[in-house]
Symmetry: C2
């Protein structure tokens, strides 16, 4: 690929979105073909060099720091095979698009993933992703679920959608599919995050469902078109589901279920982690019960889920700065925001005292403020987001 | 009754137990006929005057402070009808006895009930109550339980008993009965706390079960022999179940279930509050799920229950002072105990800092230390128990 290629017809270059320019966009498309999901090494390069320089380096001989010769060779092979313009055209022909960090429609909460943030997202469907994802909840669980699990997931999906919440899941058999179907049945918005290209329907038995999600909501994938799902891709897809949403509800899961991975990512990212209990005699609820014992919240219906993920006011997406006006914050969140110093990063304990909010609650509210773009932080250090970050990419 | 009556044959006067003397014993027997369970007004009189003076006052004209004329008249009528020697003889003939606060076999954790502590306990069965109650767990729940609830309760009862824990419940239909039966089936110890006299079998359909509990374990009642159960007596019986045990497990309960009363008493008394989840589609699990959402712990088997109520070492009951030697405390509990000042009462937050223990955990450990007799406290003030309390009665 060349850094000076002209915009392909039908694509959405940076100037119309306020996002990154054409060079960066094309570089990220190429990287979506080159890099496996969750590759923190490449994430570090992107952070330091930006996507254009990273792609340029992958075309050269000198390995970037940290890559073993074998790893470097593998990345170079895949980079050389990338055909970003062709990929863009293929997905555009399907009515899809490619979203970059910094785009108006990029869900900023994905930035919480830091070094393992997707390089970009392929999207199919007409919905505005950022808006849809702001009030979204993940409903995930066992593929081989029981009738109980499928019933609960579809009722939950329908009730969440009816109350204006976007249902995010993985389009898999079982709980995932039931949650999507529940949302679709009431005319709601639902987002399916795939572990393959957005041009593929996996699992094949859900191809009609996947088409319906693309029609009524959005299909997302960080992998380039045509890519197949693999075991690690499934597992790493879950971090996107967790990061995109304000909380993850697990409906039936065995103790080694991938949906517990989603829940643990949600917890790590400061999102709500929730589980629907079931009979203790059922192995398909054992994973959920373990999660609950680890501190996840018990939820038995959509109202309880919404109570936890919190109602936020009317949304007003903006290209930079917080996605909702400060005035629309709930009083508790506003208090924590007010207490943050202008420039310094502070600890959670300090902030809890300063805002007169219990520490656990402060942590939750910080997660909320982060997903709304007001603050950023890692672990125990938190600070205000600058109104115009110097590196719009991060 | 007269304060100078001689010991009735077959009863166990104070001198052989290190407990209160004959006068006080007889006064408490009379009060068990006179006072409704949980009467804090009479509890206050007992605290200030002792049982002998309280009974004497109830035989006089001048009302004790706080009693309305109607209340006073009612209590006097019932006090006049009390025949304590006859009651003692009747229960002794059944192989039973009357336990007073201060008796060697009195479970000191009941003292946490303060003004609503039972005036005494009628007991039927050969077991040593104090020993049995030290490692005990309440398993309670819906009378009209499902097969699921009855299955879970009986397995839990059996597994707890197999691991040397005493199963305490209310001898009712449904979950209670299943828990008792589970414990009995493995030859374990189980304690039934009745809302009527220990000479009665209520509910009648459980009369065989109630007899078996008396044979293999213990039946307890704060009401005098012959007394019938009433709605308030059922509800107030639950505080005894909660106070007697190191934690309460609720297996199936509707949202207005009496077993939630037991759980909330347990929580207020610093005991563990636990719930066994079930299908969210079942109204008989809705009360349990509400409890879990209020902060009770999710448990799915006996091992998880025991993990929460804590394993304590070998027991060495003593007439006064802690019921287990300090050396046998778990390190975490020992650390909190060590941090308590010699004479002053301190707050939980202070103690958490001093012992380097998270505040929530400190609270749990204080509950444990209290039930073992090392500390006493109300709400937020805690202090060491004197080795020989000045009022052995409290």
């Amino acid at each position: 690929m060349s850094g000076t290629a002209a915009p392909a017809p039908g694509t959405d270059p940076g100037e119309s979105t306020g996002g990154p320019g054409w060079d960066e966009r094309l570089a990220r498309v190429a990287l979506s073909r080159t890099v496996e999901p969750g590759d923190a090494l490449v994430g570090g390069w992107l952070d330091r060099l930006g996507p254009v320089e990273t792609v340029r380096a992958l075309a050269g001989e000198r390995p970037l720091p940290g890559a073993s010769p074998q790893r470097w060779a593998g990345l170079r092979l895949r980079a050389a095979a990338a055909r970003p313009e062709a990929d863009l055209t293929a997905v555009t022909d399907l009515g899809g698009r490619f979203l970059c960090p910094g785009d108006r429609d990029w869900p900023r909460q994905l930035d919480d993933l830091q070094a393992v943030r997707p390089v970009g997202l392929w999207a199919r469907g007409a919905g505005a992703l950022r808006l849809a994802a702001l009030r979204s909840v993940a409903v995930v669980g066992a593929r081989a679920c029981t009738e109980y699990g499928s019933h609960v997931a579809s009722v939950l999906g329908a009730e969440l959608a009816e109350r204006g919440w976007t249902v995010v899941s993985g389009a898999a058999y079982g709980v995932d599919g039931a949650a999507h179907r529940g949302a679709l049945a009431v005319g709601g918005v639902t987002v399916g995050v795939l572990a393959c290209g957005v041009d593929r329907a996996y699992p094949p038995g859900n191809s009609r469902l996947i088409d319906r999600i693309a029609e009524a909501g959005l299909l997302l994938a960080e992998l380039a078109p045509g890519e197949h799902p693999t075991r690690p891709r499934f597992v790493l897809r879950n971090r996107v589901i967790a990061a995109l949403t304000r909380g993850t509800v697990v409906v039936e899961a065995q103790v080694r279920s991938g949906s517990l991975v989603t829940a643990r990512w949600a917890d790590r990212l400061g999102r709500q982690t929730m589980g629907v209990p079931g009979p203790v005699t059922s192995g398909l609820s054992a994973g959920v019960h373990r999660l609950l014992r680890e501190g996840a919240q018990v939820v038995t219906n959509a109202a309880e889920v919404i109570e936890l993920v919190g109602a936020i006011g009317e949304l007003a997406p903006q290209p930079s700065g917080p996605a909702v006006p400060r005035d629309l914050l709930r009083p508790a969140a506003a208090r924590v925001l007010e207490a943050l110093p202008a420039r310094e990063a502070v600890g959670v304990a300090w902030l809890a005292r300063a805002s007169g909010t219990p520490e656990e609650r402060t942590r939750e509210l910080l997660g909320e403020l982060r997903s709304l773009g007001f603050v950023h932080g890692t672990g125990d250090r938190w600070q205000l987001t600058s109104p115009r970050p110097r590196h719009p990419d991060r």
